[in-house]
């Protein structure tokens, strides 16, 4: 197998998920109850048999570091397989916080050299899909390409400014590439996965850094020039590919999951996750009480349900007391929902306490289609006191002890979470 070293870009700041990414990087976000977004890429790399993986981290990496560890869940803790978390670092030279994706790679070219890579597989951390990259690597080798871009179809309804667009010529040659254009130049986008010859990448980045003005963005400083140079190919990914650009995408994705609609399903793809995370693997199976009512929902281990859960996704360890009603919601780990509390169209981070009889969101909104105006977002470790009504559209900050005064302080305008 051609020696390919992978580098995952997981350092970027992202504030499109409201308080859910105020304390963690996007790729560490819980998804489908008991997974994290980065699990997809890590599982793919494990299945491909990549022996060296570097994970570039910067923005709020704590959860990610805990989750990835030494890569054990993805078979990477071994004498000949390694996963390395790579934060920015001080050196004697001018090393700095990563100034962009290209800069992050440049500052870690030692990793590329040390692993004796012939090719570098650069991946974005936070896309959801299942894939074995072997065929792409095979094609890259056969064509003797300097660069192979993994492409997919441009998904409907997204702004072109979110993607890089590729144009195919003959025989998988990519003739044109433009990053985040004002308008779509084709029906084909980059998945953010780039396979580049190691010596080409090294030479290019080193040459670049001799210049005065550098664009530190990888697609701009490396991909676009390589495509112009004429030896860049594309490999088409035909499977389901999910891009969660914001909170709304996140919610819509989970609604498709619970309806069993076509989407990227981590269960079906056998996505591997860290089972030591809050003792996921040892938690007892979810318990459904005598008077519980659960409909069209995904319930993770450690949950104890005595109340009602409808069209919702529950992460591990959620306790739903008798009389409580959870509808159209997504709740992260170890929240407590006490007697008769009602949560409607709520997205809640971990460890929140909803005391008895509190009401989050608007009961009348239950059911029906998703509309962003219906959503209320609760930050990690928030505590909602007894009997309080948190109006639809509020965003409860991390750690907040919500009382009547705080609610009164929220203005009439609905703070859209996304």
């Amino acid at each position: 197998m051609i020696k390919t070293t992978a580098m995952i870009l997981a350092g970027g700041i992202n504030l499109d998920f409201s308080v859910l990414t105020h304390n963690r990087v996007k790729s560490a976000m819980p998804v489908c109850g008991q997974f994290r977004i980065i699990d997809f890429i890590l599982t793919n790399l494990s299945n491909t048999g990549i022996q060296n993986v570097g994970v570039l981290i910067q923005y709020l990496p704590g959860s990610l570091i805990d989750h990835v560890g030494v890569g054990k869940p993805w078979d990477m803790d071994s004498s000949n397989r390694h996963i390395k978390l790579m934060p920015p670092f001080m050196g004697m030279g001018k090393t700095k916080w990563f100034r962009g994706s290209g800069d992050a790679i440049y500052q870690n070219l030692t990793f590329v050299r040390d692993t004796k890579a012939e090719h570098v597989l650069i991946l974005t951390a936070d896309h959801l899909y299942g894939m074995n990259y072997s065929q792409m690597i095979e094609q890259h080798n056969q064509t003797n390409a300097d660069l192979t871009i993994l492409t997919t179809n441009y998904p409907k309804g997204y702004s072109p400014r979110l993607f890089g667009f590729a144009q195919y010529g003959e025989d998988n040659l990519v003739t044109h590439f433009e990053e985040k254009p004002a308008e779509a130049i084709s029906d084909t986008i980059s998945t953010g996965v780039y396979l580049i010859k190691a010596n080409v990448l090294i030479e290019m980045l080193e040459q670049l850094h001799k210049e005065e003005e550098i664009n530190h963005n990888l697609p701009k400083c490396v991909i676009e020039p390589l495509v112009k140079a004429g030896n860049s190919y594309g490999h088409r990914f035909e499977g389901e590919w999910e891009y969660l650009s914001d909170m709304q995408d996140y919610i819509r994705y989970h609604r498709r999951l619970i309806r069993g609609e076509s989407c990227v399903d981590p269960g079906q793809l056998n996505i591997l996750t860290n089972l030591q995370d809050r003792a996921l693997g040892s938690r007892p199976s979810p318990f459904f009480g005598n008077n519980s009512h659960v409909e069209d929902s995904l319930i993770s281990p450690g949950c104890v349900i005595h109340g009602s859960v409808v069209r919702s996704v529950l992460s591990p360890g959620i306790h739903v007391a008798a009389g409580a009603k959870i509808t159209d919601s997504i709740l992260f780990h170890d929240c407590q929902i006490q007697e008769n509390a009602q949560l409607t169209w709520v997205v809640s981070d971990k460890d929140c306490i909803f005391e008895s009889n509190c009401q989050i969101g608007n009961r009348e909104d239950a059911g029906g289609d998703f509309e962003k105006e219906k959503i209320t977002v609760i930050g990690k470790e928030a505590h909602i006191a007894q009997g309080l009504h948190v109006p639809t559209g509020c965003v409860v900050p991390i750690d907040k002890k919500v009382d009547q005064r705080w609610i009164a302080g929220q203005t009439e305008k609905t703070t859209t979470p996304a």
């Binding site: 056998n270 007892p284 979810p286 459904f288 409909e295 281990p301």
Partner: protein, 428 residues
């Protein structure tokens, strides 16, 4: 704190569990939707911060060895923590298949000696309970005991089935009688949990090994010898404890997982298990969908429920199709209950297929007992072995035993009468 080494006896077959323990040792039998029986003892050892543990295996140990691994799941990793599986071995002067509980320990005292342990904690791998062993060590040391054993009260009429221990208010043992006939001296029974002074244990085992008339059993041989001359103490353990040695007690204990009053509280006990061998396809949330309704049950990860599940324990990856009703049952990994099927009081091993509109088991408890194994299967349960297959529309009575991999053919009969056993050869 004095050194303790834990030794877990996990070599038994548990023959009364029938096909559940035929291809795997009893401690490896799946339990409570997410665990194996040995997880309870292993977790208790972990909680007491005991760093060295030997697990004596013998009967069909593959599942067990695979499950234990190096003990990592229970924190036994690195230089200072060690969990070792100890099988019987050829080569030692007295080595042989284990002749009894005392012999198993005797043949592995070399392991306990490695750590210069002052105390040896001897446990069975077969029991369901959550116990703080640290409290017992304190009691043992305070009394300068040679042995401390744990007991539990049972109804007087039951006591005769067990090893019975009589002890005074201070815990000093006055009598130990294995399965007493007539009026038992006490209704405190032996739980099979012993803390020994290491030097005393060693001496007793050596003496016992020399005795050709001994059956090398703690209850039958070692304790009766010790009571008169050594410092033997006992302590009561009033909380939930079960030896799931029979099909009925196995079923009852699983049912107690879904009874909040039973004292068996999986959420409170926080039992650790090795989840790494669990199939990857199970590792996803439980999906209740369509007309799925679940009442008073636990349903394992990766399961998909579109029918009714009442008062049952479902393990990982169980599929209950639309219109099916599962009641009072224990269904292990990967079981598929087809549309409209009715399953009652069933214990099913892994990967069993139950055809659409079939009727398995019943809630009557007084039907004819199993003809071939009347002592094992006689309380109205129906038992299906791993990978057995039930076609659509079949009706299977109570106390039936279907062997692993058996495909129940419909052919001449669409009803399998109460008490039938279907093994590989006679079928349909």
């Amino acid at each position: 704190m004095a050194q303790v080494v834990a030794m877990i006896l996990a070599g038994g077959q548990g023959s009364r569990l029938s096909i559940l323990s035929e291809q795997r040792a009893k401690p490896a039998v799946p339990f409570g939707s997410n665990y194996r029986i040995i997880d309870f003892a292993m977790t208790n050892v972990m909680r007491a911060d005991i760093r060295h543990m030997g697990i004596m295996t013998q009967y069909r140990p593959f599942s067990l060895n695979d499950h234990i691994g190096m003990g990592e799941a229970w924190g036994f990793s690195g230089r200072n923590h060690m969990a070792k599986v100890l099988p019987p071995y050829i080569g030692g002067k007295n080595s042989d298949w284990y002749l009894g509980t005392a012999d198993a320990i005797h043949q592995n005292m070399w392991f306990a000696d490695l750590f210069n342990a002052e105390m040896v904690l001897i446990l069975s791998g077969d029991h369901i309970y959550s116990m703080n062993y640290s409290e017992i060590f304190k009691f043992h040391l305070q009394n300068d005991a040679d042995v401390t054993m744990m007991t539990q009260q049972v109804p007087w009429e039951e006591a005769g089935r067990f090893g019975v221990i009589k002890y005074d208010k201070k815990g000093r043992i006055e009598a130990f009688i294995e399965k007493p006939k007539g009026e038992p001296p006490s209704n405190q029974i032996n739980l099979g949990i012993y803390v020994f002074r290491a030097s005393a244990l060693k001496r007793l085992l050596l003496e016992d090994a020399e005795d050709p008339n001994s059956s090398h059993d703690f209850g039958g041989n070692i304790f009766p010898k010790m009571i008169k001359t050594m410092r033997c103490y006992a302590q009561e353990f009033p909380q939930y404890w079960r030896d799931v040695g029979t099909l009925q007690s196995f079923w009852e204990a699983n049912m107690e997982c879904v009874n909040p009053q039973s004292g068996l509280d999986l959420n409170k006990w926080k039992v650790f298990t090795n989840s790494l061998n669990s199939p990857a396809e199970f590792c996803r949330p439980t999906h209740i969908t369509g007309s799925g309704r679940v009442q008073n049950s636990i349903v394992g990860k990766g399961s998909k429920i579109q029918g009714q599940v009442i008062n049952s324990v479902l393990f990982g990856g169980v599929q209950v199709d639309k219109g099916a009703i599962v009641r009072d049952s224990v269904l292990m990994d990967g079981v598929h209950v087809g549309q409209g099927a009715q399953v009652t009081r069933m214990i099913s091993d892994k990967w069993v297929h139950i055809g659409a509109n079939s009727i398995i088991g019943s809630d009557e408890t007084d039907n004819p007992v199993n003809e071939q194994f009347p002592d094992y299967l006689n309380t109205g349960l129906t038992l299906a072995g791993k990978r057995s297959h039930f076609p659509d529309n079949i009706k299977v009575g109570s106390n039936c035993l279907i062997y692993p991999k058996v495909s129940v053919q419909q052919q001449s009969r669409s009803t399998i009468p109460h008490g039938t056993t279907l093994s590989g050869n006679d079928n349909g």
